[in-house]
């Protein structure tokens, strides 16, 4: 038996010789065994509003204890956290925060949930998994913001402890995933279906980038796929792009483009469609039946919440989400 190992966590399937590290930079082959380099060593630790993830239908107005380590399974040219997602663990300043301490801190800071976020949580899977198990035992919810680039087996195992997931559906073409992210769309779509099957609360974020993924035809196709495969109740967040990392040559997304995308999504049948990264009325949640404002937001702040026991206060329609 040799000492070459293959990581089976994500579709990259890195085959590693001794002392080689994975593409995500967080896993190393040491003498024929695979180890995580980032367990208990987050480089980002913050208390955030849950709306920042973004989750709009999951415990609104609560705080999430948010952690990330270095590393990512993809390499998106527009990454907004590239300083840490594309860094090696040793290139970041880290905290010593094992799972127990994360859960304790979440409790101390009155956080209803822990969010595995900022970079790609799949890159710190073991740390996330162990923390999620301890959090669940302490009645603290688990959420993740992920690109969904993970194999089925580890995802299903994680789903037993994950309460909510916000998945970046970065575009709806293989070409975009290949050229801009160095990945593949089909694995992300598969993860979305698995999360739905496993009954994890799901929200989707789509960053609209001028000239790269802003064609209404593709947005329409994406929304119809979501309705057909995940249902019309899945909240969809269209997010405004700002020039970052390797895409500083592109302008910010025009607000009109985002509004067109939202209209397309609603015409396709999605009930809850939001526009993020820009102040506008599409930050609010509207009742799909009586059209009144259910949750009024300004940025990450809740101004008013008209959802009572998971229902519209005005017309009693059930609103999908986890509200308490």
């Amino acid at each position: 038996m040799g000492k070459v190992v293959q990581c089976e966590l994500c579709p990259n399937g890195c085959v590693l010789d001794v002392n080689q590290t994975s593409r995500c930079r967080t896993r190393i082959n040491k003498d024929g065994r695979l180890y995580s380099l980032v367990y208990g060593k987050p480089c980002a630790v913050h208390v955030d509003p849950i709306e920042k993830k973004p989750f709009f239908h999951f415990l609104p107005g609560t705080k999430a204890f948010s952690i990330a380590t270095a590393g990512c399974v993809l390499s998106c040219k527009f990454c907004q956290n590239w300083q840490i997602s594309q860094a090696k663990p040793e290139e970041t300043d880290t905290y010593d925060l094992p799972p127990d301490k994360v859960v304790n801190n979440a409790r101390i800071y009155n956080c209803r949930s822990i969010a595995y976020t900022y970079t790609e949580p799949t890159a710190f899977y073991e740390y996330m998994f162990d923390t999620a198990v301890k959090a669940k035992n302490s009645d603290i919810k688990n959420t993740m913001h992920s690109c969904g680039y993970i194999n089925e087996k580890p995802l299903r195992k994680l789903c037993k402890y994950m309460d909510a997931a916000d998945i970046d559906l970065k575009a709806f073409t293989e070409d975009f995933y290949d050229k801009i992210c160095n990945g593949s769309l089909k694995y992300v779509l598969n993860s979305l279906i698995i999360l739905k099957e496993e009954k994890v609360w799901l929200e989707i974020t789509n960053l609209v980038i001028p000239t790269l993924n802003d064609e209404i035809k593709n947005i329409n196709e994406m929304c119809r796929w979501i309705v057909k495969n995940l249902g019309s109740d899945v909240p969809l967040h269209f997010s405004r792009f700002f020039p970052h990392y390797k895409l500083t040559n592109l302008p910010p997304t025009p607000v009109e483009t985002l509004k067109n995308a939202r209209k397309t999504a609603m015409d396709a049948g999605l009930k809850f469609v939001y526009i993020g990264n820009v102040r506008n009325e599409a930050e609010n949640t509207y009742c799909p039946v009586c059209k009144k404002i259910l949750i009024e937001r300004t940025g990450y702040q809740i101004i008013k919440n008209n959802i009572l026991n998971g229902k519209c206060k005005f017309c009693n329609t059930s609103i999908s989400g986890i509200w308490s």
Partner: protein, 44 residues
């Protein structure tokens, strides 16, 4: 400075670098946590 002094300095510097490398390796090993979801690749 004699050749002997130079040799001493070289040996000191070399052992310092070796020690530094060793302690770094030790620290890294302490931080390692075995990964989930991997397999050994059989030799062909």
């Amino acid at each position: 400075m004699t050749r002997r002094d130079l040799l001493k300095a070289f040996v000191f510097l070399w052992s310092f670098l070796l020690l530094k490398e060793d302690s770094k390796a030790e620290k890294t090993n302490e931080q390692l946590h075995e990964a989930m979801f991997w397999r050994r690749v059989e030799d062909d």
